[in-house]
Amino acid sequence: MAGKPRGLRLFRNLNAKVAAVPMVLTTMVVFVGGTLWTVLYSFTNSKLLPRLEFVGIDQYKRLWSNDLWNAAIWNLAFYGVMSLIFTIVMGFVLAVLLDQKIRFEDAFRTIMLYPFALSFIVTGLVWQWILNPEMGIQEVVRRIGFETFTFDPLHNPNTVLYGLLIAGLWQGTGFTMCLMLAGLRGIDEDIWKAARVDGIPKWKTYIYVVIPMMRPVFMTTLVIVAAGIIKLYDLVVAQTSGGPGNASQVPAMYVYRYMFTAQNLGQGFAASTMMLLSVLIVLVPWAYLEFGGKKHG
């Protein structure tokens, strides 16, 4: 649309094309090239070094019959759904609370946002410690007098994912809250006036008017949060190392473990390919919504 002058387009826009070279190279060489390379080698029996000795879909057969991989997939699915819901709901609710013309808004916002400055490694280590039954919350509550109080999520296979969730939400919700707050501030004041005149309760205005208007914000948030969830790795490594047993294993750990510890690149690449495939399944509908339906600018 804009910037399409008539005539010799190729030369007129040469600078623009030169400027786009890094992006084109990155997408084609790294993301597309790297992906295709990974997919190609997932059909080989590469061990420590990539080798083109094809073994068909053996790696995939083994992958899907592997308990660890299946556990990792389910763990990530559970964590992902919970994390998406909680991040977005918490982020939105906190943003709404901060948007109530409160005092000390800056202070509250900083308090909620600062964990985002810390890495997942740090997040995992600190929460591992706070949740440690011998020193953390459990011990402190017991000392107060509740001697049978039990709160040890990280050492119980049934609750360990919630333990991760507590830490993950701590780190990430502040950023979501900021995105949401920015979205709320972008809503026209007149909408609120109109709603007030019509006597619509506040909560209804939020649900039926404000949220639909914030669709782009939710979309951006969704992309950023979902991208983070699929990459989930550091937090788990630092907080639980995938344990107890395999109760908090995630796919990225499986990939890393099989590529480097087990020196079975083929297996690692097969797992990578499955992860990439699941990304595509999430992303294609999004791209369609973004570019297929409406126009921008």
Binding site: K47, P157, P244, G245, Y258, M259, F260, T261, Q263
Partner: protein
């Protein structure tokens, strides 16, 4: 002893006349615990004293963290001067890809074939008749470490083998102690299982399964007993929640736990804590049941570098690592056994002497890393980690065990 020093010194100066050239060599390894770091310091001291310079590239977090970095750097074309790997198949492909320096001339000049014992260690370094690594030490994982004081306080005799240890567990537990310390990392579960396999199952079974790869034996009733014993052991360890092996060792040192199944490197931690073998703690090779040890260990590989001066320094370092003095100094600190039988280890403590005796008597079996690929080892680790911290039945575990071994045939 003196003659040896002299001979080695002569050999060094003859074979490598440019010893005066000071060259920096970066050495990567994952030896970062207290005892390990003290042992590395001995290597650095010796290398620096010989005129070159040891640039330490320690990467903490164990082999699983460090190896990817090492492999990436070697394949990425920016290799270090020397790097630690475990004996066995970990570096095999790097050698086959021509990325590693051929040390055959050093090995011949230093007569490695004559001095290294057991010779299987050198064989592990030899590919197509050429030597590619310098074996550093022998580690055997099948040890039971026991805190004596706990038993003295309870007024019961200190267990002399695994069976007694299990029998005493209820009393230990009643005293508010954890009977068995176990770090919650996959390889540690795998190690505990293998130690029980050597101890309970015995040497024949171990060899049948791991060396002859007899899958019927792996699925047989003898092996099931091993799994049942492991299921009993996991109950004893259910309250142990630490991750790192040396944290688990520390539980034994401080008397929080009665015992730990861990390799002989645990000794280094006891030494750093000022504990005396036989007095403060007891060590039982082969869990006190079968005095057999598997001999894995660490070795140094030397990636090919373009600089001929560095290559000369690499060869000097390789020769130095195997030399008698360095072997003694390093292994005393590390708590591991030396790779040559011709040196004076009289300074060794009680536990190391037990190990040395077993080594001398030849009651050794190859380590898991030597007989199975890292792929199989990793899968076993994942399976054992689930088994040791969950409620999988011994029968199910055995079935999966056999399935995993079959992927490595």
């Amino acid at each position: 002893m003196k003659n040896w020093k002299l001979a080695a010194g002569l050999l060094l100066s003859v074979a490598l006349p440019s010893g005066a050239n000071a060259t920096d060599l970066e050495v990567t390894h994952w030896w970062t615990s207290g005892g390990e770091a003290a042992a590395v310091a001995e290597l650095a001291k010796a290398f620096d004293a010989s005129g070159d310079h040891w640039v330490d590239g320690a990467i903490a977090g164990g082999g699983d963290t460090a190896r990817p970095v090492m492999i990436a750097r070697i394949t990425g074309g920016d290799p270090m001067g020397a790097t630690q790997f475990n004996h066995g198949q970990q570096a095999l492909e790097l050698v086959q890809a021509g990325l590693m320096l051929d040390l055959t001339d050093v090995a011949e000049a230093q007569k490695w074939r004559d001095v290294i014992n057991p010779i299987s260690l050198l064989d592990g370094c030899t590919i197509d008749g050429k030597v590619y690594c310098a074996p550093m030490n022998i580690h055997s994982p099948e040890w039971l470490w026991i805190n004596n004081k706990i038993y003295e306080d309870l007024g019961i005799p200190i267990p002399t083998n695994w069976t007694e240890f299990v029998a005493s567990a209820p009393q230990v537990e009643a005293a508010g102690k954890i009977p068995l310390a176990l770090g919650r990392q996959a390889w540690q579960s795998n190690l505990a299982f293998n130690a029980i396999a050597v101890g309970i199952g015995g040497l024949d079974l171990w060899k049948k399964v791991n060396v002859d790869k007899d899958m019927e034996a792996a699925a047989g009733p003898e092996m099931l007993k091993v799994f049942q014993a492991s299921a009993d052991a996991r109950k004893l360890a259910s309250k142990s929640t630490v991750q790192d092996w040396n944290q688990a060792t520390n539980m034994v040192i401080t008397g929080e736990a009665a015992g730990q199944i861990m390799g002989d490197w645990a000794q280094g931690e006891f030494a750093v804590a000022g504990k005396v073998a036989g007095k403060d703690y007891t060590c039982l090779p082969g869990l006190g049941l079968n005095a057999y040890l598997s001999t894995g260990g660490d070795a140094f590989y030397f990636p090919k570098l373009a600089d001929p001066e560095k290559e000369a320094a690499q060869k000097r370092l390789a020769a130095l690592l195997v030399s008698p003095d360095v072997q003694v100094a390093f292994n005393l600190k590390k708590g591991s056994l030396p790779i040559r039988g011709d040196i004076d280890m009289s300074a060794a403590n009680d536990c190391m002497k037990k190990g040395l005796e077993i080594l001398k008597s030849g009651n050794v079996v190859p380590a898991g890393d030597q007989v199975w690929s890292p792929d199989v080892q990793t899968q076993l680790g994942d399976m054992q980690s689930e088994f040791w911290s969950g409620d999988m039945t011994p029968e199910d575990a055995q079935a999966r065990y056999v399935e995993i071994l079959k992927t490595g045939l």
